[in-house]
């Protein structure tokens, strides 16, 4: 019985795939990787969103209404630029008497107050940068922080309805000697019930006994934040809330109308209190955080896009090579009466099968990858909330659709080419020879595209052409993208000349093997070029990241050196959550005879034109220790009693000029008038917008915290440093830095960012390497006869392997040099574009550049291992026997 099949081509397509599993693997590898990155990005962002949703619904679980004090706009706006430094906020709170008032309202089942503020656990032990055998290390104070997550102190809720925290070991705190620790912090730092721990709350460290370990809504702690939970009264004392609470949680009777209760509570003090629906608030807060995370998701998606883009190159390449190998088979089908259209469909349906298989595997790999990304970020201290990984069906479907569509599209051109194979090919013994003409057209098209890209880019840099409605940066980006596309079009036509540059060198070093390898890569310039292009993309991005960071570091160094004139700076270790530097520290420093000049900076929030504003106070010495620029008025006048200094940007924004009168509402003092005597520029991050002289104003003396201290010493030596350290070490949460340390600090932040970027970019390099493996495997396959012949006439296996390695090195060098060149050029353009914002430094690190080119070449050789081994094991007789 002969089988009759209605769709013979689909069957042939499927049979083809089943017969050549290696072929499937080679082609699908890049689909798999591309899709997996999309899926990983998606899982990652979904999981984070999910974790935040849980977190916020956890925060308000079982709570119906939350009563908050109405904050005037105070806590929010700091003007455009100011307010990086630690500021003592004047948050409004609620009197704790209100709790009982609320409890008496009909329909209220229970109400309890919450106190929350800054508190941080401290442990003593060797610092990470200190060797454990050094006894000095034992005395180091370490502020415990889980990644970048904040550190909090709060009251333990005793209401039976409070279900946020759950004790997993021990018991709740009952007096002012006890504390409960969140389980994330406890596990991470080896604390358990019964241990003594020091907590820094307010500015004063105190020691407590851990009586319990608690979990928050079934995860260790919300968002990885550390929590010190005290009994209610203790929390009020420690967290600067005596007689007050931050907000009140209300549980409403099941049969009461929630809106009536809400109105009733509002009526107690409609001016000072607002009552919000807890569940709505949860959703709102989660949303606002998720928007913040969207930035990160965008980055992930960009990387996914790059991986897919690189993947498309490779898929197309692989298809083309596979079809070339099958010319005979396809032309036989043509000779047997298959139409062009049918061949086209045959190839496309093969790619469809591969796309489905590849995308499916990609989803699986993506799940694995997301675990890696998550762990990787943990390693780099990116504190994101704990939670299960979530793969939504829509994400999986999107990933598969993108994989399938990209694969099919990449197969269209090769399929068209394949369908044009003549039925005569089957009889002829054809050699693949590149078509010069189309390469020439490519050169023309690519060059014009690149030139127009250059015009767009230089147009904005040298201001002869501005694209409408684009910012400078956007236009540079646009120009760079056009240039990149142009270069990608050109690469096949410059492959030959490029490789020819290396001919002599390779011939001299590797002899005939070098000659063979260079000739091979010139033989199929398109293939060489598209393989190299995949690597080029990765290296363009890497060298871009690289040059930008070295330049930014140089910039940071220049700025710090220019701006910080003091020998030392003291600042609060944690910019956002720690309260500042206890004023005792500046006193102690002043008493040291080594300290020659010292300036303190304090800040407070005051009202100006019914808006909050940061008012700073400085010592005269600050002008010697920090670089400032005089704009108008004089410093001498600024030192007078009623004088006030204004930062230039604030003066410009608010139209303030010299000798204007400004009226400030100062919390402790009331309304007070000042005369603008000095307008100046503060060259670092300014600690405030308006400035007074510290000694002139009593109310500043009452502030217990400094924001920054700068000072000079007689002799900046080891002995002085030790003396200074002795003093500063008594103030936990405070860091002493000199210029070098400030530079290091800035650099390490830039480096951290770079590391994360490297992590993602290496995925694109990895995809590119698959491409190299594919290309070489197939090129080895194509040259079966040649290699067999060489073996027959006495070429050693090792020499065959070396030949493949050399060929791979040519492809990698091509891609790496093009990519690095483009990357350096693009970063130069970017820095030019950023000139207005004060970026002047453009530094290319030769080490980094050569390191990455080296890595690319080395990886290329690693990618060649399998093809090289396969080539050297080829059966000689099969290769030379005449069919």
């Amino acid at each position: 019985m002969f089988g009759f099949t209605k769709r013979p081509l689909l069957l042939i397509a499927w049979k083809n795939l089943k017969t050549y599993p290696v072929r499937i693997f080679l082609t699908t590898s890049s689909i798999i990787l591309g899709v997996s990155v999309i899926i990983a990005a998606n899982i990652f962002s979904e999981s984070n969103k999910n974790a935040f949703d849980n977190l916020f619904s956890g925060v308000f679980e079982g709570i119906d209404l939350v009563v908050q004090p109405i904050q005037e706009d105070f806590a929010q706006g700091f003007g455009d630029d100011g307010g990086q430094g630690p500021i003592s906020f004047e948050f409004r709170k609620i009197s704790d008497k209100k709790i009982n008032e609320i409890k008496t309202i009909a329909g209220v089942k229970d109400a309890w107050g919450d106190v929350i503020g800054f508190a941080q656990f401290i442990k003593f032990g060797p610092r990470p940068d200190c060797h454990s055998y050094n006894p000095e290390c034992e005395r180091e104070t370490i502020l415990i922080q889980n990644g970048f997550a904040p550190t909090f102190g709060a009251a333990w809720d005793t209401s039976p309805y409070a279900s946020q925290w759950e004790i997993i070991d021990g018991q709740p705190p009952t007096n002012n000697k006890e504390v409960v620790m969140d389980s994330t912090t406890a596990e991470g730092n080896g604390f358990s019930v019964g241990d003594r721990v020091t907590v820094l709350a307010g500015a004063i460290p105190a020691t407590f006994t851990i009586v319990g370990i608690a979990e928050f809504a079934n995860t260790g702690s919300p968002g990885g934040a550390s929590f010190a939970l005290f009994d209610f009264r203790t929390a009020q004392v420690l967290l600067d809330s005596i007689g007050e609470v931050d907000f009140i949680n209300v549980v409403v009777d099941e049969n009461a109308d929630i809106n009536e209760v809400r109105n009733a509570i509002s009526n107690i003090d409609s001016q000072g209190l607002e009552v919000i629906n807890a569940q709505e608030a949860a959703a709102e807060q989660a949303d606002s955080i998720k928007q913040g995370l969207d930035f990160f998701n965008t980055i992930l998606n960009v990387f996914a896009g790059i991986a897919i883009f690189v993947g498309a190159f490779i898929i197309q390449n692989t298809f083309r090579i596979l079809l070339l190998q099958r010319t005979k088979e396809l032309s036989l089908l043509r000779a047997l009466g298959t139409s062009k259209k049918q061949i086209y469909r045959l190839v496309v349906s093969e790619s469809l099968y591969m796309a489905i298989i590849g995308s499916g595997l990609g989803v699986a790999l993506g799940i694995g990858l997301s675990v890696v990304v998550k762990e990787g970020l943990k390693y780099f201290d990116f504190g994101l909330p704990e939670g299960p990984l979530v793969l939504t069906p829509s994400a999986a479907v999107t990933g598969i659709i993108i994989g399938v569509v990209v694969t099919i599209f990449s197969s269209l051109l090769p399929a068209r080419k394949a369908s044009q194979v003549s039925p005569l090919e089957a009889i002829r013994d054809s050699q693949s020879t590149p078509k010069r003409k189309s390469l020439f057209i490519r050169l023309i098209v690519g060059s014009s595209v690149s030139l127009s890209g250059l015009a767009v880019l230089f147009g904005v840099l040298y201001s002869f052409f501005r694209a409408p409605s684009l910012s400078v940066l956007q236009q540079v980006g646009l120009g760079a993208s056009i240039i990149f596309i142009g270069i990608s079009v050109i690469t096949p036509s410059i492959t030959k000349p490029f490789v020819s540059i290396f001919d002599k060198l390779y011939n001299t070093i590797f002899g005939i093997l070098g000659k063979l390898a260079t000739e091979n890569s010139k033989r199929t310039p398109r293939r060489t070029a598209s393989t190299a292009s995949a690597l080029m993309i990765g290296l363009t991005l890497i060298s871009l990241a690289n040059v930008l960071t070295t330049s930014f570091k140089a910039q940071a160094e220049k700025v710090v050196k220019e701006v910080v004139l003091a020998d030392y700076q003291v600042s609060a270790a944690q910019i956002f959550s720690s309260p500042g530097i206890p004023t005792g520290l500046s006193q102690e420093l002043l008493e040291l005879e080594e300290v020659t000049e010292l300036s303190r900076t304090r800040a407070t929030v005051v009202g100006y034109n019914n808006r909050p504003l940061i008012l700073g106070a400085v010592d005269k010495e600050v002008f010697d220790l920090i670089k400032t620029v005089d704009i108008a008025g004089s410093r001498e006048d600024f030192y007078k009693q009623d004088a006030i200094g204004v930062l230039k940007f604030k003066a410009d924004n608010d139209n303030i000029s010299l000798n204007d009168r400004v009226t400030l509402t100062i919390p402790e003092v009331g309304k007070k008038d000042f005369i603008v005597k000095y307008i100046f520029d503060w060259t670092t991050q300014p600690p405030a917008e308006f400035f007074l002289l510290l000694d002139n104003h009593e109310f500043f003396s009452n502030e217990s915290l400094d924001t920054e201290i700068y000072f000079n010493v007689t002799n900046k030596d080891e002995a002085t440093k030790n003396k200074l350290d002795d003093i500063v070490d008594h103030y936990p949460g405070v860091t002493l830095r000199d210029q070098d340390a400030l530079i290091d600090e800035a650099n390490s932040q830039i480096q951290l960012l770079l590391n994360v970027i490297y992590g993602f970019l290496s995925i694109s390099i990895f995809v590119a390497l698959f491409g190299i493996t594919n290309t070489l495997s197939l090129s080895v396959y194509e040259r079966t006869r040649e290699i067999g012949l060489m073996r027959a006439i006495g070429t050693l296996r090792k020499q065959i392997r070396n030949m493949v390695f050399i060929e791979s090195s040519i492809i990698s060098i091509f891609g790496a040099i093009l990519g690095t060149g483009l990357g350096i050029f693009f970063s130069w353009s970017l820095i030019q574009a950023l000139e207005d914002q004060g970026f002047t430094e453009f530094v290319v690190s030769a080490e980094q550049t050569f390191l990455w080119i080296g890595i690319a070449i080395f990886s290329g050789i690693v990618a060649a291992i399998i093809p090289a081994i396969r080539a050297s094991r080829q059966n000689i007789l099969e290769a030379i026997s005449y069919e």
Binding site: E519, M790, G794
Partner: protein, 242 residues
């Protein structure tokens, strides 16, 4: 005359038990220096197999091959490869040349792989003999089939090998080119003291040889010294009649 290759009880079986083919069955042959030997036989009689085994390109199933007294069976791949490189030359029926290399580079390829400087005087002599001096800088696809085979022959001789193995070297050529190539091969043996073992099924080609060995079903059916073309044809016919 010195014995250069000795095949002793040579047997080659392809495939597994069920589908096995005995390509060579207990063949005993000696090949002498400075001699042009032809191996003949019908298609499938085992000619190529014999050549591959003698040249160390294929492993024998049983028996041994001695090249200047060295048992090929005792050598590993690296040593075998070096023997092929230094002591043997090859001309195949087709696809003899590396397409990316010029004629000259193809001729010097074996010395290049060995990392040796080619003997220029010797190469000039061969190049003149095969009459391709004006085509040295051309790539194979720019040469005619006959020229390609002559370049291959020149390559086979470039290292002054002990033996040149040729499998149907004239199989793809017209009678004129074929005659030129064979004349050259014969002259090489006579004038340049080379040794050639050539497989062919063409009595005309075989008539250039000094010795003709006939195979039938993997066994040596006859071994003739200096036969004329007529003698060869009649022997071929008589063998195929049986």
């Amino acid at each position: 005359m010195e014995k250069i290759i000795k095949a002793k009880n040579l047997t080659k079986v392809y495939g597994e038990d069920g589908t096995s083919v005995t390509a060579l069955n207990n063949v005993n042959l000696d090949f002498y220096e400075n001699k042009f030997t032809a191996i003949m036989g019908q298609s499938g009689s085992g000619k190529s197999t014999l050549l591959h085994c003698l040249a160390g390109l294929d492993k024998v199933t049983s028996g041994s091959i001695y090249v200047k007294g060295v048992d090929l069976g005792s050598l590993n791949d690296k040593e075998l490869t070096k023997i092929r490189r230094d002591s043997f030359g090859f001309v195949f029926q087709a696809f003899n040349l590396i397409p990316t290399l010029t004629a000259e580079e193809n001729i010097t390829l074996p010395s290049s792989i060995a990392g040796r400087k080619p003997n220029e005087e010797w190469i000039n002599q061969i190049v003149n003999a095969v009459d391709i001096g004006d085509r040295l800088n051309h790539r194979p696809n720019e040469l005619s089939g006959g020229q390609q085979q002559r370049v291959a022959a020149a390559r086979a001789m470039a290292t002054k090998p002990e033996v040149i193995f040729a499998d149907e070297p004239s199989g793809n050529l017209d009678s004129k080119s074929s005659k030129e190539l064979l004349t050259f091969m014969k002259s090489v043996v006579k004038e340049l003291n080379q040794t050639i073992v050539m497989v062919t099924h063409d009595p005309f080609a075989a008539s250039f040889a000094e010795r003709v060995i006939m195979l039938k079903d993997g066994e040596v059916a006859s071994d003739m010294e200096e036969p004329s073309q007529e003698e060869i044809i009649s022997r071929v016919t008589s063998l195929s009649d049986i």
